[in-house]
Point group: C2
Chain length 313, copies 2
Amino acid sequence: MRAATIRDGEVVVEEHPDPEPGAGEVLVRVKAAGLNGADVLQRKGAYPAPPGSPQDIPGLELAGEVAGLGAGARRFREGDRVMAIVGGGGQAELATVHERQLMPVPDGVDWPAAGGLPEVFTTAHDALFTQGDLRAGDRLLVHGAAGGVGTAAVQLGAAAGAQVTATVRNPDLRDAVRELGAHDVLDPEGFEEHGPFDVVLELIGAPNVPGDVKALATGGRIVVIGIGAGFRAEVNLVALMGKRGVLRASTLRARPLEEKALTARAMERHVLPHVAGGRLRVPVAATHRLDDVAGAYERFTAGGKLGKVVLEL
Amino acid sequence: MRAATIRDGEVVVEEHPDPEPGAGEVLVRVKAAGLNGADVLQRKGAYPAPPGSPQDIPGLELAGEVAGLGAGARRFREGDRVMAIVGGGGQAELATVHERQLMPVPDGVDWPAAGGLPEVFTTAHDALFTQGDLRAGDRLLVHGAAGGVGTAAVQLGAAAGAQVTATVRNPDLRDAVRELGAHDVLDPEGFEEHGPFDVVLELIGAPNVPGDVKALATGGRIVVIGIGAGFRAEVNLVALMGKRGVLRASTLRARPLEEKALTARAMERHVLPHVAGGRLRVPVAATHRLDDVAGAYERFTAGGKLGKVVLEL
């Protein structure tokens, strides 16, 4: 099979042996695979794939057709449309995934949207609800709301009855984020004057954290899942104590199979019905063929886009 | 009545009007009142009492006899032995407390122990179990374990089946902390090499936080409730993400009546039976008469003691 491959800090296309599904695993013929921030970190050598995942093939999510079943795998049949988060190796023509990590692709969702759906919606859903305990009526702040996870979080927050405020650096994208359900879209500069917020989804990183603490409501939760702008955060503990606040940081990638499988079940129950009904969607900023994988990474790192960059295979 | 009174950064004894119990309140003739770190901050002008509490009389906890009942108060009768956390004003001959904040003093607990019990045990219980979700088998680290909250936390952690590690600066106090139930008692220097810990109770402050993050187990919780050594903490978000960790900061003092009352009910249910049974105790380092309130504050701030400094009234 051919796959995107990390070589000396670049992503190129190389030939690899076809993977074979182990017990409980499914072989997926990949049709689309979204790009994510972790792929870029991994390309720089800063974020190695977890053990058991391909070390040199990037890609944290994929969508495709079932092409084979390992021993004991029984949730899907050959030809089924499936999608999943994977620990790595998603940006390849073939990938093996444990059947408990796979989700069905709802009818009416095309391959680019399906390939860009699992990581951002699972990440946003887990961060907002499992980590952040978001409830109807809560005031939610989403930083970096025009990105992949941000667009998912704005939609999920609005769908759950939260009052959503979003920060977006690029003024050209603010109307689009408002159309996704944000009640208020701000420039990141001075956002801390617009609180208080019950939940802050931090997708940018350390430079925002002092403001996040300042803008937090009593009993509020800051959930950090993106650190592109820096990771050494200064936290004013007096302010956090006074608010009985929580700073929580998380990543899906390092979790064991059973926890990833739980997030997939939560997606099937709480998110996919809304996707099937058209109430949640995956904004796709650009698609690139595998042969143009370098172009896909260039587009991804250029920023200033709304939603996902997806590789088509 | 006479009361400890903050005047120009000192604590002196002054005459005040007797307080009168309002609806639902109980008038308590105070017998003993523990000193706490917040009193010292308040003396410096750094930590004003919450609205509705006496602004110039320190004291966050008290024990004494019921001396009068406000309209509708029916949980206690005159002469009952009671104790409570209060927003301020505990270090006085008389204090009014809402009956929902009061707890009965178990038989066999003397006045100094009762006067030094509510703040430290309520704080430690809330921090370990409500905030930190401590479970049997968890590895617990208690920083500042020889202090009031520390000695309570070590005992509560051990009683709940946690594996308790404690840091104690004064080598002379380490054996006493071990006798309270700590499995391991360390010098604070280099504590981060002794992890991982599922729950870290931070009673010292910001300087420990980078080590707390380093020593945290996957899914671990840092609960900050003391900041005497500093409040500007540096948090490595990459490390916290990799551990799916939580940094939580809290204080009892700023909470509304209903939340304080809930902590009193949790104490009655989960802690006082162990106190009555002699399995939990309040180490009292020193008692001082009200006339020697200056001496009490001096003893408290000198440090190097095991357990509480209590004012007798």
